[in-house]
Assembly symmetry: none
Homo-oligomer: 341 residues x 4
């Protein structure tokens, strides 16, 4: 396993992380959760990611039980969870979502109860909350870190560049800590935010990235290449009722979807040339980006974890020439010329 610093911070995370979205506490049985997490740990993965809203809080519970059962040392693992964007326990009360001081404090306490941990390593703002003043958000995350001791670091997820910079500026002004990491959607088909909008954030603010959806919900594995119009029976999009899954299914076969599939088919040629599966190409490509601290992967069986980890060996196979071929297929991110100095 390769370990990378979480942005400019002192924390090291495995370059591949394991995420509990959709699966732990939800689509997979608890035994499977245990098997996947154990496999990940045995492969050297130390970073496990969940959220208050994953499977209505069950993901945190399942993950916490596995940690207990396997008797992992607390200092050997990096655990993160996230607040906002769907409440825990399937219920969205007036004040148990968003990023108010009240929810950050109450929500993290509830997450820790579910995880049965004293603290997490990273607490994320799962989505921005435009109604709450940024100063309130920054202060509340500092409170749970500095006074309560419930987290080591805080980060953001799916925030805009200017929101992250605002949070960093306010933290600086108030002598507090800003977010050290952002968790964006990032893959071969969705590069713009990470490589374009965020371009200044890495060196100027020391921002780290823990990216999710490296396969864009499976698209980049190539498994939908031959069923362009409707999800194949048994696939995640066929049965799920998660809001993201529903969104994907509803858009299955539309114009944007077909444009994506077109690119994925072309990427197959590149993957074959490199001599690796498509999904490995997609993962390795994410890992190639030096601003990425960890690529969060999902797994519904232990073998998938092993497959995912292979991508680490393929990073070097992505030579400048191969990267150029990939850019030609998926489109590179043009940087504003006014700033390319």
């Amino acid at each position: 396993m390769v370990y990378r610093r979480l942005g400019n911070s002192g924390l090291h995370v495995s370059a591949l992380g394991l995420g509990g979205w959709l699966t732990f506490g939800g689509q997979v049985e608890n035994d499977t959760t245990l098997a996947c997490m154990k496999q990940a740990y045995d492969c050297g993965i130390n970073f496990f990611d969940t959220a208050e809203s994953y499977a209505g809080g069950q993901s945190e519970i399942a993950m916490g039980q596995v940690i207990k059962k396997l008797g992992w040392k607390r200092n050997d693992i990096v655990i993160s969870t996230k607040l906002n964007w769907g409440g825990a326990n399937g219920e969205v009360l007036v004040n148990n979502h968003g990023l108010s001081r009240k929810h950050i404090i109450e929500g993290l306490r509830a997450s820790l109860n579910r995880l049965d941990l004293e603290y997490v390593d990273i607490i994320y703002a799962h989505r921005p909350d435009r109604l709450t003043p940024m100063e309130e958000v920054v202060r509340a995350f500092n409170h749970v870190i500095e006074i309560k001791g419930w987290a080591m670091y805080w980060g953001t997820s799916e925030w805009s560049a200017d929101e992250i910079v605002e949070a960093c500026g306010i933290a600086k002004q108030l002598g507090l800590v800003g977010p050290v990491v952002e968790q964006p959607f990032y893959n071969l088909l969705s590069r713009k935010k990470v490589e374009g909008e965020f371009q200044r954030l890495y060196s100027r603010f020391g921002l780290g990235l823990t990216t999710f959806s490296p396969l864009k919900f499976g698209l980049l594995s190539g498994k939908y290449n031959d069923s362009p119009d409707a999800p194949p029976a048994g696939s995640r999009f066929a049965k799920g009722d998660d809001k993201f899954v529903n969104y994907m299914r509803d858009n299955y076969g539309n114009k944007a979807w077909q444009d994506d599939i077109e690119k994925v088919r072309k990427l197959k040629v590149v993957a074959d040339k490199v001599g690796i599966p498509q999904s490995e190409l997609a993962l390795a490509w994410c890992l190639k980006n030096p601003n990425v601290s960890s690529v969060i992967t999902g797994a519904s069986k232990p073998e998938q974890v092993v497959e995912n980890v292979k991508a680490l060996q393929s990073i070097d196979k992505l030579t400048p020439e191969i990267m150029a071929e990939i850019d030609a297929i998926v489109g590179g991110v043009e940087l504003d010329p006014a700033r390319q100095d």
Copy 2:
């Protein structure tokens, strides 16, 4: 129920709140307190307000017992209490009132003990304390919020505009949090402070309002319209010995009182035209003000809560024309021409 942000903060409160003044722990039995609070909760009210001085501390005790008994989740309700302006436990020791650091810390701890809660959501300075330096006040409220974790936000009650602005300025200067809400006396017969003196505070300082006495101690319900000289037997003013009640009884029938009754009689015509009871008109009128986060209502029986909540349906009935008629009766608030831009 409608929920509004508490000023510019991230906290959401129900547009109608339930207050424990005079009643809970005092004029009404504990069973009634429970019945009223349950009814309020069932109507969607999430904001419950009390104070260390209400019924000499008994209001906090009664409210805390109901919360326990009904098994409410802490993240589902917003609880506020207040310090200063009459001590708790019926005793006013040298240092157990005012806004000294000593009383803010000791007083809030005692309130939490009575409420049997770990923290309140909002802690108010019940009245200003002109003898204590504002910096001491601001620092002490920040201490109980940031270090002790005994409150989420702090506010003021019956402060002047310049006092609120001073507190905000000192907080800014010291990198601390200022008050996010003021709790003023506000109703159809007392508009000047909220609409005049405070006019700049909403947009410049993001101040929220939780207002009290929407019926001006019952006057605006019209129930004193026919007994202009002495309180009707059985009314609150006939029997109470609270200082406010005494004040009202002592002024019953004087010039200011009769001027008010005159207006209330005229408002009856408007209420009849709109087709709602006078008290509903009075409540809806307060709710119509977009700077009001929550109108705190009292109730000595559950049916009153249900009555009060009806006002939410009547907000839209207060058309610009009706509002103009009301202004003609009670008098609009003239804004200083130098600032009417």
Copy 3:
């Protein structure tokens, strides 16, 4: 002459000042301006007040010429002018009024040109400007004081208490100087702002006051006592076309006016008892207030100056008993009991 500190500052102003409103450069000839100013100076008055908008800039020009002609030493006099509330030169261009940084810098430069002075001692914001952020206002006044050297101190005129406190707070936060003085309308018939709204500002912020209109446009001299319905021929209200004069004339004889005249008539009895003219009583009463640094008086002939100065001798004649009689007539200012500790 008595000299008082300008609030908490180190500057001393004569307890009576001479103002150039309506008269200098306008209603009176330049010779008269010179005569009045000379008389004032000879009486020990060192504080001369004008504004960019008085007589469309002519007041500043006239005052500057007199200073030159009489060869006064710069360090022997205190000169103030004001920006905003009507442009200079009779014209109101888009940006040559208000309190934008542009107008504060350009406007003060133009005032200094008209006054033919290198600097004024006090530059006032003649009225608040709600459209310009307070931080911009505070910074611009500091710029003309600290960097340009065009003024020694800055003040406000007819601002609300919370606006003054906001300016002081921002100045503190930014390490800049706040306003040291407010110039309000203050007289026996208009006490509320100075004694009520401003009550906390004197000790907490060291605010000084230079008050204007001690006779409420002549009303308190008693000269309108016998012509309640229309201004006597030849009086200022009969002929003027200044906006304030027009306002007064338009309200001549209305309800508020007659209420005032009623009080003035009763005050005559008090003045007679004390044995001084009504106008002297009115002036002395203003001077009696220890928070008043200087009472700005007008004069359209030198003798008036001499009359005005006599009031200094009458301050001590206003015994507690006389002051109580006056309160009984004009109404005292009730302080909020919650803050009378």
Copy 4:
């Protein structure tokens, strides 16, 4: 003419401004510059915009000469210039561009010499400079404003949202002033930055906008509708050698160009329905955006100025229905759902 505040600042600019790009000191003779500026002034335009790099510094010289010749009062006009992005005088020395402290101070001094003015009202950073630390940039702009008195306000041009927020945050932290205005490219065919990326900046940071290219270099006037493949003889794109003109000519007739022309043709139908020329529709549409302080227009003859000003009358003709039709043609800007609250 309509005047709007420059963002949250106290400065007022005419809703239409006149820019000196390409024309003044360059493509048009000096007599024409004078005629255009006079016409603009007579129409009530008070905002005149130039840059050190326009026509290699000749634009500033020409504009300065006109101001002198027409004898405009300094407080009656708002003059802006810009630093960085191409040096003045046709030469790009190592240090006479960029946003180093050295160039901001030396460059602005040189601009003032060319303009023959003591100060400008707004100094813009014409483009970001990614090599210079933001703190150096913020400090240098504050130096020329606060210490040198060479400008009243500073702004940015074509910066990203996160760069603007970083500058604001650093200014706040250091007690300095941040940028009050951004000058972006904005028109019916290029909405994304102003309406999407910048969406949070208006209310959170009080940012104003002075937009350029309301007709996208003439495209939106419809004059290229009938010559899709090559610029019509005599048009700006046929003869110019400015870098922007070259860029446009090189892309004439390509895919993006033709997509634009397609939309412009459809917009003609809307313009006809409203009963105004296409260019007037394009201008009025920019003016309709309440976050736009001023739309900078170009003119190579006085009649064009008169034409442009007509757009002010057409703002109200853009009813919600018409705006919806326009959106359907050019595409609305989707706001990130996570932030649409």
